[in-house]
Protein backbone atom coordinates (compact mmCIF):
# COMPACT_ATOMS: atom_id res chain seq x y z
CA UNK A 1 0.00 0.00 0.00
CA UNK A 2 2.83 2.35 0.88
CA UNK A 3 4.48 1.63 -2.45
CA UNK A 4 1.25 2.18 -4.33
CA UNK A 5 0.84 5.57 -2.70
CA UNK A 6 4.46 6.50 -3.38
CA UNK A 7 4.04 5.63 -7.04
CA UNK A 8 0.90 7.71 -7.23
CA UNK A 9 2.54 10.73 -5.59
CA UNK A 10 5.57 10.43 -7.86
CA UNK A 11 3.29 10.47 -10.91
CA UNK A 12 1.52 13.58 -9.64
CA UNK A 13 4.78 15.37 -8.82
CA UNK A 14 6.29 14.46 -12.18
CA UNK A 15 3.21 15.73 -14.01
CA UNK A 16 3.20 19.00 -12.10
CA UNK A 17 6.89 19.58 -12.76
CA UNK A 18 6.53 18.70 -16.44
CA UNK A 19 3.59 21.08 -16.81
CA UNK A 20 5.43 23.89 -15.04
CA UNK A 21 8.57 23.46 -17.15
CA UNK A 22 6.51 23.18 -20.34
CA UNK A 23 4.66 26.42 -19.62
CA UNK A 24 7.63 28.28 -18.15
CA UNK A 25 9.92 27.56 -21.07
CA UNK A 26 7.28 28.75 -23.50
CA UNK A 27 6.55 25.45 -25.23
CA UNK A 28 2.81 26.06 -25.29
CA UNK A 29 1.79 26.95 -28.85
CA UNK A 30 0.20 30.40 -28.93
CA UNK A 31 0.29 31.36 -32.61
CA UNK A 32 -3.28 31.67 -33.87
CA UNK A 33 -2.18 30.86 -37.42
CA UNK A 34 -0.62 27.49 -36.57
CA UNK A 35 -2.63 24.30 -37.09
CA UNK A 36 -3.77 22.64 -33.87
CA UNK A 37 -2.47 19.17 -33.08
CA UNK A 38 -4.82 16.32 -33.95
CA UNK A 39 -5.62 15.49 -30.31
CA UNK A 40 -6.43 19.14 -29.66
CA UNK A 41 -8.64 19.48 -32.72
CA UNK A 42 -10.44 16.31 -31.68
CA UNK A 43 -10.86 17.13 -28.02
CA UNK A 44 -11.35 20.86 -27.59
CA UNK A 45 -14.20 21.74 -30.00
CA UNK A 46 -16.10 18.71 -28.68
CA UNK A 47 -15.56 19.95 -25.11
CA UNK A 48 -16.98 23.37 -25.96
CA UNK A 49 -19.98 21.77 -27.67
CA UNK A 50 -20.59 19.52 -24.69
CA UNK A 51 -20.39 22.43 -22.27
CA UNK A 52 -22.81 24.55 -24.29
CA UNK A 53 -25.25 21.64 -24.56
CA UNK A 54 -25.06 21.08 -20.83
CA UNK A 55 -25.59 24.72 -19.89
CA UNK A 56 -27.99 26.16 -22.43
CA UNK A 57 -31.54 25.90 -21.19
CA UNK A 58 -33.98 24.19 -23.53
CA UNK A 59 -36.00 27.08 -24.90
CA UNK A 60 -38.02 27.76 -27.99
CA UNK A 61 -37.52 30.92 -29.95
CA UNK A 62 -40.40 33.05 -28.61
CA UNK A 63 -40.61 35.14 -31.78
CA UNK A 64 -43.05 34.31 -34.58
CA UNK A 65 -41.72 32.38 -37.58
CA UNK A 66 -42.14 35.28 -39.93
CA UNK A 67 -40.14 37.01 -42.60
CA UNK A 68 -40.23 40.17 -40.48
CA UNK A 69 -38.31 38.37 -37.73
CA UNK A 70 -35.71 37.17 -40.24
CA UNK A 71 -35.34 40.62 -41.77
CA UNK A 72 -34.88 42.27 -38.37
CA UNK A 73 -32.33 39.64 -37.37
CA UNK A 74 -30.62 39.88 -40.75
CA UNK A 75 -30.14 43.60 -40.40
CA UNK A 76 -28.54 43.17 -37.00
CA UNK A 77 -26.39 40.37 -38.38
CA UNK A 78 -25.22 42.34 -41.40
CA UNK A 79 -24.28 45.20 -39.13
CA UNK A 80 -22.32 43.44 -36.43
CA UNK A 81 -21.72 39.72 -36.98
CA UNK A 82 -20.83 39.66 -40.64
CA UNK A 83 -17.25 40.84 -40.09
CA UNK A 84 -16.23 37.54 -38.53
CA UNK A 85 -19.04 35.10 -39.43
CA UNK A 86 -19.48 36.03 -43.08
CA UNK A 87 -22.43 37.08 -45.19
CA UNK A 88 -24.62 34.79 -47.29
CA UNK A 89 -22.34 33.80 -50.15
CA UNK A 90 -19.37 35.69 -48.73
CA UNK A 91 -17.31 33.91 -46.10
CA UNK A 92 -15.21 36.21 -43.91
CA UNK A 93 -11.47 36.19 -44.52
CA UNK A 94 -11.07 37.94 -41.20
CA UNK A 95 -13.01 35.37 -39.18
CA UNK A 96 -10.67 32.56 -40.12
CA UNK A 97 -7.62 34.42 -38.80
CA UNK A 98 -8.80 33.74 -35.25
CA UNK A 99 -8.03 30.61 -33.28
CA UNK A 100 -10.45 29.00 -32.91
CA UNK A 101 -11.77 30.30 -36.25
CA UNK A 102 -15.19 31.96 -36.32
CA UNK A 103 -17.80 29.60 -37.79
CA UNK A 104 -18.96 30.69 -41.26
CA UNK A 105 -22.70 30.29 -40.86
CA UNK A 106 -23.72 30.94 -44.45
CA UNK A 107 -21.54 28.09 -45.64
CA UNK A 108 -21.70 25.51 -42.92
CA UNK A 109 -24.69 26.51 -40.79
CA UNK A 110 -24.44 26.12 -37.05
CA UNK A 111 -23.93 22.96 -35.06
CA UNK A 112 -26.12 24.38 -32.29
CA UNK A 113 -29.84 24.46 -31.74
CA UNK A 114 -31.65 27.80 -31.53
CA UNK A 115 -31.56 27.76 -27.74
CA UNK A 116 -27.84 26.95 -27.76
CA UNK A 117 -27.09 29.67 -30.29
CA UNK A 118 -28.98 32.13 -28.11
CA UNK A 119 -26.94 31.08 -25.11
CA UNK A 120 -23.62 31.34 -26.98
CA UNK A 121 -24.45 34.78 -28.35
CA UNK A 122 -25.57 36.00 -24.97
CA UNK A 123 -22.65 34.73 -22.90
CA UNK A 124 -19.87 34.48 -25.44
CA UNK A 125 -17.29 31.71 -25.55
CA UNK A 126 -14.32 31.87 -23.27
CA UNK A 127 -10.89 31.71 -24.88
CA UNK A 128 -12.20 32.65 -28.28
CA UNK A 129 -12.93 35.86 -30.15
CA UNK A 130 -16.65 35.48 -29.37
CA UNK A 131 -17.41 38.10 -26.78
CA UNK A 132 -20.67 38.22 -24.80
CA UNK A 133 -23.41 40.13 -26.61
CA UNK A 134 -25.73 40.66 -23.66
CA UNK A 135 -24.42 44.20 -22.96
CA UNK A 136 -25.20 45.18 -26.55
CA UNK A 137 -28.43 43.36 -27.44
CA UNK A 138 -31.72 42.68 -25.73
CA UNK A 139 -32.89 39.09 -25.47
CA UNK A 140 -35.45 39.72 -28.22
CA UNK A 141 -32.77 41.02 -30.55
CA UNK A 142 -30.66 37.96 -29.79
CA UNK A 143 -33.62 35.72 -30.68
CA UNK A 144 -34.00 37.65 -33.96
CA UNK A 145 -30.34 36.99 -34.69
CA UNK A 146 -30.74 33.32 -33.83
CA UNK A 147 -33.75 32.98 -36.12
CA UNK A 148 -31.77 34.56 -38.94
CA UNK A 149 -28.66 32.43 -38.42
CA UNK A 150 -30.78 29.28 -38.38
CA UNK A 151 -32.05 30.13 -41.87
CA UNK A 152 -28.98 31.89 -43.26
CA UNK A 153 -28.14 29.13 -45.75
CA UNK A 154 -31.71 29.00 -46.97
CA UNK A 155 -33.24 32.45 -46.80
CA UNK A 156 -36.55 33.34 -48.43
CA UNK A 157 -35.64 35.54 -51.43
CA UNK A 158 -37.68 38.42 -50.02
CA UNK A 159 -35.60 38.37 -46.84
CA UNK A 160 -32.30 38.10 -48.71
CA UNK A 161 -33.31 41.12 -50.70
CA UNK A 162 -34.55 43.15 -47.74
CA UNK A 163 -31.27 42.89 -45.85
CA UNK A 164 -29.18 44.10 -48.80
CA UNK A 165 -27.15 46.14 -49.24
CA UNK A 166 -25.12 45.12 -46.23
CA UNK A 167 -23.86 47.94 -44.06
CA UNK A 168 -20.33 46.85 -44.77
CA UNK A 169 -17.69 47.71 -42.24
Amino acid sequence: MKHLLAGSLCALALLAITAAVYLDLGFMEVAADAQPAAWEAGLMPAAVRASVRRRAAAMQNPLPHADATLVAGGKLYMNDCVGCHGAPGHPSDYGVTFFPPAPQFAQSGSQYSDAELFWVAKHGIRMSGMYPQSPHYSDSDLWRLVAFIGRIGNLPPAVAKAIQPPASK
Partner: protein, 167 residues
Protein backbone atom coordinates in the same frame (compact mmCIF):
# COMPACT_ATOMS: atom_id res chain seq x y z
CA UNK B 1 8.43 -2.11 -7.05
CA UNK B 2 5.43 -3.64 -8.78
CA UNK B 3 3.14 -1.73 -6.44
CA UNK B 4 5.02 1.49 -7.10
CA UNK B 5 4.66 1.07 -10.86
CA UNK B 6 0.99 0.26 -10.45
CA UNK B 7 0.43 3.40 -8.39
CA UNK B 8 2.41 5.50 -10.86
CA UNK B 9 0.68 4.28 -14.00
CA UNK B 10 -2.72 4.01 -12.34
CA UNK B 11 -2.60 7.66 -11.34
CA UNK B 12 -1.66 8.78 -14.83
CA UNK B 13 -4.45 6.74 -16.41
CA UNK B 14 -7.00 7.96 -13.87
CA UNK B 15 -6.00 11.57 -14.38
CA UNK B 16 -6.17 11.32 -18.16
CA UNK B 17 -9.55 9.61 -17.96
CA UNK B 18 -10.76 12.25 -15.52
CA UNK B 19 -9.68 15.12 -17.75
CA UNK B 20 -11.17 13.62 -20.90
CA UNK B 21 -14.34 12.75 -18.98
CA UNK B 22 -14.73 16.31 -17.71
CA UNK B 23 -14.25 17.66 -21.24
CA UNK B 24 -16.67 15.18 -22.80
CA UNK B 25 -19.35 15.75 -20.19
CA UNK B 26 -19.25 19.49 -20.72
CA UNK B 27 -18.00 20.27 -17.24
CA UNK B 28 -15.67 22.98 -18.52
CA UNK B 29 -16.85 26.56 -18.10
CA UNK B 30 -17.09 28.23 -21.49
CA UNK B 31 -19.06 31.39 -20.73
CA UNK B 32 -17.20 34.51 -21.74
CA UNK B 33 -19.06 36.70 -19.26
CA UNK B 34 -17.92 34.82 -16.17
CA UNK B 35 -14.52 35.81 -14.83
CA UNK B 36 -11.93 33.06 -14.71
CA UNK B 37 -10.30 32.33 -11.38
CA UNK B 38 -7.22 34.46 -10.71
CA UNK B 39 -4.81 31.52 -10.71
CA UNK B 40 -5.97 30.55 -14.18
CA UNK B 41 -5.59 34.07 -15.53
CA UNK B 42 -2.12 34.49 -14.08
CA UNK B 43 -0.92 31.08 -15.17
CA UNK B 44 -2.13 31.58 -18.72
CA UNK B 45 -0.74 35.11 -19.05
CA UNK B 46 2.56 33.82 -17.79
CA UNK B 47 2.57 30.86 -20.19
CA UNK B 48 1.57 33.00 -23.17
CA UNK B 49 4.30 35.51 -22.38
CA UNK B 50 6.88 32.76 -22.08
CA UNK B 51 5.80 31.25 -25.38
CA UNK B 52 5.92 34.57 -27.22
CA UNK B 53 9.38 35.29 -25.80
CA UNK B 54 10.57 31.93 -27.04
CA UNK B 55 9.13 32.26 -30.54
CA UNK B 56 9.46 35.95 -31.41
CA UNK B 57 12.46 37.03 -33.47
CA UNK B 58 15.29 38.41 -31.40
CA UNK B 59 15.89 41.29 -33.76
CA UNK B 60 15.36 44.82 -32.60
CA UNK B 61 14.85 47.73 -34.85
CA UNK B 62 18.18 49.49 -34.98
CA UNK B 63 16.86 53.01 -34.61
CA UNK B 64 13.83 54.61 -33.02
CA UNK B 65 10.96 54.88 -35.50
CA UNK B 66 10.78 58.00 -37.63
CA UNK B 67 7.66 60.15 -37.49
CA UNK B 68 6.78 58.88 -40.93
CA UNK B 69 6.81 55.30 -39.68
CA UNK B 70 4.75 56.21 -36.63
CA UNK B 71 2.18 57.93 -38.82
CA UNK B 72 1.98 54.92 -41.14
CA UNK B 73 1.55 52.63 -38.14
CA UNK B 74 -0.96 54.98 -36.53
CA UNK B 75 -3.15 55.01 -39.59
CA UNK B 76 -3.21 51.23 -39.72
CA UNK B 77 -3.89 51.14 -35.99
CA UNK B 78 -6.91 53.42 -36.23
CA UNK B 79 -8.19 51.31 -39.09
CA UNK B 80 -8.17 47.90 -37.44
CA UNK B 81 -6.93 47.85 -33.85
CA UNK B 82 -8.65 50.68 -32.01
CA UNK B 83 -11.96 48.84 -31.73
CA UNK B 84 -10.55 46.53 -29.08
CA UNK B 85 -7.31 48.22 -28.01
CA UNK B 86 -8.54 51.81 -27.73
CA UNK B 87 -7.46 55.07 -29.31
CA UNK B 88 -4.47 57.15 -28.30
CA UNK B 89 -5.70 59.19 -25.35
CA UNK B 90 -9.20 57.75 -25.47
CA UNK B 91 -11.15 54.98 -23.78
CA UNK B 92 -11.57 51.61 -25.48
CA UNK B 93 -14.83 50.71 -27.11
CA UNK B 94 -17.03 48.92 -24.65
CA UNK B 95 -16.46 45.35 -25.65
CA UNK B 96 -16.25 42.65 -23.07
CA UNK B 97 -13.82 40.01 -24.14
CA UNK B 98 -13.00 37.01 -22.06
CA UNK B 99 -9.30 37.82 -21.98
CA UNK B 100 -9.54 41.59 -21.78
CA UNK B 101 -7.45 43.08 -24.59
CA UNK B 102 -4.68 45.42 -23.43
CA UNK B 103 -5.59 49.09 -23.81
CA UNK B 104 -2.32 50.59 -24.95
CA UNK B 105 -3.16 54.21 -24.26
CA UNK B 106 -3.50 53.33 -20.57
CA UNK B 107 -1.04 50.52 -20.03
CA UNK B 108 2.13 50.07 -22.03
CA UNK B 109 2.54 46.74 -23.78
CA UNK B 110 4.41 44.19 -21.72
CA UNK B 111 6.10 42.91 -24.87
CA UNK B 112 9.15 44.12 -26.73
CA UNK B 113 8.80 45.53 -30.22
CA UNK B 114 9.91 42.28 -31.84
CA UNK B 115 7.44 40.36 -29.68
CA UNK B 116 4.64 42.73 -30.62
CA UNK B 117 5.55 42.19 -34.27
CA UNK B 118 5.29 38.44 -33.79
CA UNK B 119 1.94 38.67 -31.97
CA UNK B 120 0.36 40.93 -34.58
CA UNK B 121 1.57 38.67 -37.36
CA UNK B 122 0.56 35.33 -35.84
CA UNK B 123 -2.18 36.28 -33.39
CA UNK B 124 -2.72 34.65 -30.02
CA UNK B 125 -4.53 31.35 -29.78
CA UNK B 126 -7.64 31.17 -27.65
CA UNK B 127 -7.99 34.92 -27.43
CA UNK B 128 -9.66 37.60 -29.52
CA UNK B 129 -6.34 38.42 -31.17
CA UNK B 130 -6.42 37.26 -34.77
CA UNK B 131 -3.43 36.73 -37.05
CA UNK B 132 -2.76 39.74 -39.28
CA UNK B 133 0.04 38.20 -41.33
CA UNK B 134 -2.27 37.60 -44.27
CA UNK B 135 -3.64 41.15 -44.16
CA UNK B 136 -0.53 43.27 -43.68
CA UNK B 137 3.01 43.07 -44.97
CA UNK B 138 5.86 42.56 -42.51
CA UNK B 139 6.86 46.17 -43.02
CA UNK B 140 3.38 47.38 -42.11
CA UNK B 141 3.36 45.17 -39.04
CA UNK B 142 6.67 46.67 -37.89
CA UNK B 143 5.20 50.17 -38.11
CA UNK B 144 2.24 48.98 -36.04
CA UNK B 145 4.55 47.45 -33.44
CA UNK B 146 6.50 50.71 -33.27
CA UNK B 147 3.36 52.83 -33.03
CA UNK B 148 1.93 50.76 -30.19
CA UNK B 149 5.20 51.16 -28.30
CA UNK B 150 4.94 54.94 -28.51
CA UNK B 151 1.22 55.32 -27.94
CA UNK B 152 1.58 56.92 -24.55
CA UNK B 153 3.94 59.62 -25.73
CA UNK B 154 3.31 60.30 -29.38
CA UNK B 155 4.92 63.36 -30.90
CA UNK B 156 2.13 65.96 -31.37
CA UNK B 157 2.82 66.10 -35.10
CA UNK B 158 2.15 62.37 -35.38
CA UNK B 159 -1.07 62.64 -33.38
CA UNK B 160 -2.15 65.45 -35.67
CA UNK B 161 -1.35 63.53 -38.80
CA UNK B 162 -3.37 60.47 -37.85
CA UNK B 163 -6.37 62.26 -36.35
CA UNK B 164 -8.26 63.16 -39.55
CA UNK B 165 -8.69 59.43 -40.10
CA UNK B 166 -11.13 59.43 -37.16
CA UNK B 167 -14.58 58.32 -38.09
Amino acid sequence: MKRFTLGFLGTLVLLAAGVIGCLRLGAVEVRGDVAAPAWQRHLMQFAVHASVRRRAPQVRSSSPPSDGELIAGGKLYLDGCDGCHGRPGGPPRKRVLFSPPPVFAHAASQYSEAERFWIIKHGIRRSGMSAWGTTYTDKQIWTLAAFVGRMQDLPPSVLDAIQPKQR
